[in-house]
Symmetry: C2
Subunit: 162 residues, 2 copies
Amino acid sequence: MEIREFTEDDWVQIWPIVHEVVRAADTYTYDPNLTEEAARGTWVQTPPGRTVVAVEDGRVLGTAKTGPNHGGPGSHIATASFMVDKDLRGKGVGSALCAHVLEWAKEQGFAGMQFNAVAESNVAGIRVYERLGFKIVGTVPGAFEHPTLGRIGLHVMYCDFG
Amino acid sequence: MEIREFTEDDWVQIWPIVHEVVRAADTYTYDPNLTEEAARGTWVQTPPGRTVVAVEDGRVLGTAKTGPNHGGPGSHIATASFMVDKDLRGKGVGSALCAHVLEWAKEQGFAGMQFNAVAESNVAGIRVYERLGFKIVGTVPGAFEHPTLGRIGLHVMYCDFG
């Protein structure tokens, strides 16, 4: 598996992954009816942000986007999001993507990375993030309407690079 | 003082308020070089969001914007931002705007309101928010580069309507 920068040709493989994730509506706070155009606008970042893909034998296994979490006086903290092909989860793709964007953000001079909205049901993701240095800063109760679990908390997570 | 919905004619009075706030860069995570066009695009909300102004004798004293904090499974929680004319702070304008948008969000059926990035130096704002029912959910350390205080924390605050 190689992780490299997004190129235009990757989108045709990324969109089915994003589409499945947003329709499932069990991890991300995206509109489940997000159009392909809006998804592309959200997912494909330009500098100072970055979008990458994890690929193996020409197949896109997963993707990540990263960039400043806020503007101006908040722009020294990065954020990131990850999506992995439904059929390939639990094999370390998300973990490799997260490690990659952390490394990139450190190289770029960011002081830390924040996740704004991690559904507390996403225990596999949270375990990966914690192993890579993230801590739960706080939890907004009931802020995520899970399709089967009902209203659950959204964690704010942070990894300090200092 | 009356608080009412934004109309096109208000922008000419809102922009100097927004401009001063973003250039000061001591409360909000906006680019201090935000253009008027970008400011307008950010500040003037359309449904399901809303922008309001606090006016007295035709003068805009302050303004607020509100709407869903996230999309899809996070869209039942509102967020809001407030800006008050520099010369009129400490007179209850921000407090009245905050109470107004809380009332509006409750009427709209939101389940709570979240603030994503409250600079911990903004003690006057935090006092108002706490009096109106907000609690600090967590603090991201050093996430705000204050022009005189250096890197300080950004609070995530939440007010539950339940």
